[in-house]
């Protein structure tokens, strides 16, 4: 089955790679589908994908760890089960619904509560806040991606922390540790590998997420998609595929989009 995936993605993209060359496709910044002037470069979307996922990870991982710690170590058992149930529900909400909510509700929260104050506070003196915020941008996309991956990461972290043997915790307590110290010196080191695995799984989800990002990242193409500020519109590999797939008229254009898919798979393997 995996070989089927590899085969079809490869076969579909061979045309664009022979047209632009592998290096040319990976580092080009133009994106022009007009017949006779075709030019396809994937670099801006690679950057957009990595940037939005990075924001999602920076926000999502600490919060997930906090949730997992609370549920498995701190909360009274009465609360632990309902909280993890609710978090698992959050994982089951389809991404299209996150997208709809982000597009019509959340984007205004972000714009009015976070982006505008930041913009006004610095008046463009700090480069990453120097664009007039609009709500549909890299920052919003990153945050919504974080919301989407939190349930996944936190429920795996919780499982991992639950299998840490109690003797570890008891050893820490017997040395006089407070509860947080017990978590820090006994639970985290023991669960480190599992937590890392959970984070990587979350990253994979964030990188591949399509529909949600398409709805809120602003969808610009070409060199403009390389974000210069946190509040820039951008584009990711998968959102570009989703946007242009139905309109792709020429075989070359289609092949370029499928080539983006190949890059996406390659990205994730790394």
């Amino acid at each position: 089955m995996v070989s089927l995936v590899a085969f079809s993605v490869f076969r579909g993209s061979i045309e664009i790679f022979s047209y632009e060359g592998v290096i040319g496709f990976l580092t080009g910044t133009d994106w022009n589908a007009v017949e006779g002037r075709e030019s396809f470069g994937a670099l801006p979307y690679i950057v957009g994908t990595l940037a939005s996922s990075a924001i999602a990870m920076v926000i999502g991982v600490p919060i997930s760890l906090g949730i997992a710690t609370f549920v498995s170590e701190m909360s009274p058992p009465r609360f632990a089960a309902p909280i993890s149930f609710v978090i698992e529900l959050l994982a089951a909400v389809p991404s299209i619904i996150y997208g709809l909510w982000a597009l019509f509700v959340f984007r205004f929260w972000i714009r009015d509560l976070i982006e505008m104050p930041l913009y006004n506070a610095f008046h463009g003196s700090i480069p990453i806040f120097a664009k007039y915020p609009f709500g549909l941008d890299l920052f919003t996309a990153g945050i919504v991606l974080a919301i989407m991956i939190i349930p996944i990461i936190s429920s795996i972290c919780r499982e991992v922390m639950r299998v840490v043997p109690n003797s570890q915790r008891e050893a820490a307590y017997s040395l006089g540790a407070t509860r947080w110290e017990a978590v820090r010196i006994a639970v985290f080191p023991y669960a480190k590998a599992g937590i890392l695995g959970a984070a990587i799984l979350g990253l994979g989800r964030a990188v591949g997420e399509t529909i949600l990002v398409t709805m809120i990242i602003g969808n610009v193409i070409g060199i403009a998609a390389i974000p210069t500020t946190l509040f820039s519109q951008s584009q990711t590999l998968s959102s570009l595929i989703a946007n242009e797939f139905n309109e792709a008229s020429s075989d070359l254009h289609l092949s370029a989009l499928i080539g983006l898919g190949t890059v996406l798979v390659g990205d994730k393997k790394k």
């Binding site: 949730i67 709809l100 019509f104 349930p151 947080w180 529909i211 398409t214 499928i258």
Partner: protein, 302 residues
């Protein structure tokens, strides 16, 4: 060293520990507060999503909305009938493909395979498959079926969705079969029953609820997928005509509606989102509660 001096040292040490201890307690409290804030921060979006979907979706709901095809763009008439029908057809077909393949693969991995090179490779590739972005799986459906048959079709959509669902079913089946106690299998062997019969009648029956839960979770997952459908079933505003033609689906319809500039379209989008979320979350809640209940009864019996 006389007695007074020793007392002095003990006092100093005591003071020192006390000061340190206060700091440690404060850090401990801060960590607890941080953890609670994290939980609240994660629950706010869920609350907001459910609230908005119900608030905005409820006004759009009516019998007409659920059964009739879409009216002309921007008119605010009609409904999402074709989308609901399409989702049921495509998801049903996909689970018909994925269930036997997934369950049989799971049985193979847990009962027959052992730990050789081939089974490990299958397990590894299976977990790779769960990690593939769904849009890439859409490309697979497009290249293997749409390009070959020359038309967007239900088959392509069902195949793509089944590729997403199979690894989930495989993993859950294997995991549940593994926790079936060995004594049950041995009891079967002691009666001289063949391995195939033991697997089907004893092991699979014991693990039934777990396997069904896995299938259900897989169905709930693919019902909400949008990206692969864009490039396989395309979406249409008409009712289902044939398995070789394009068809509509709920997530796809929501996406299209949300990108139209009309208020009425947005309200339809919320309505469709409400239907989708009821389907998916309803299934999830029911299955998880069931599994929870079953899990406890099983443990009590064993």
């Amino acid at each position: 060293m006389n007695n007074a001096e020793r007392k002095d040292y003990r006092l100093l040490l005591h003071e020192h520990m006390k000061k340190k201890y206060r700091k440690r307690i404060i850090i401990d409290r801060l960590a607890t507060i941080f953890a609670i804030v994290c939980v609240v921060a994660a629950i706010i979006p869920l609350g907001s999503i459910l609230l908005e979907v119900v608030k905005n979706g409820a006004t759009a709901l009516s019998l007409e909305f659920l059964v009739s095809p879409q009216g002309s763009i921007g008119s605010g008439k009609g409904g999402i009938g074709p989308a609901i029908q399409g989702t049921i057809i495509v998801v049903g077909l996909a689970s018909l493909i994925a269930t036997p393949v997934g369950v049989l693969a799971g049985i193979y991995l847990s009962e027959f395979a052992g730990n050789g090179i081939f089974p490990s490779a299958v397990r590894f590739l299976n977990s790779v498959l769960t990690g593939l972005p769904s849009i890439v799986i859409g490309i697979v459906g497009y290249v293997t079926i749409v390009l070959v048959l020359g038309s967007f079709s239900v088959w392509a959509g069902a195949l793509s969705l089944s590729i997403i669902m199979i690894p989930i079913v495989v993993i859950v089946t294997e995991e549940t079969l593994r926790i079936v106690p060995h004594s049950l299998r041995e009891a079967g062997y002691a009666l001289g029953i063949s391995k195939a019969k033991i697997t089907l009648n004893i092991v699979l029956m014991t693990a039934k609820s777990g396997v069904l839960t896995g299938i259900g979770l897989g169905i709930a997952r693919i019902a909400g997928e949008t990206a692969p459908l864009i490039m396989t079933i395309l979406g249409t505003s008409l009712f289902f005509s044939s398995l070789e033609g394009p068809v509509d689906a709920l997530p796809l319809r929501i996406w299209r509606l949300a990108s139209q500039p009309y208020e009425s379209a947005h309200s339809f989008g919320w309505g469709a989102a409400l239907v989708l979320i009821l389907m998916v979350l309803g299934m999830n809640v029911a299955l998880r509660l069931l599994a929870h209940k079953k899990g406890f009864t099983v443990r009590a019996e064993v």
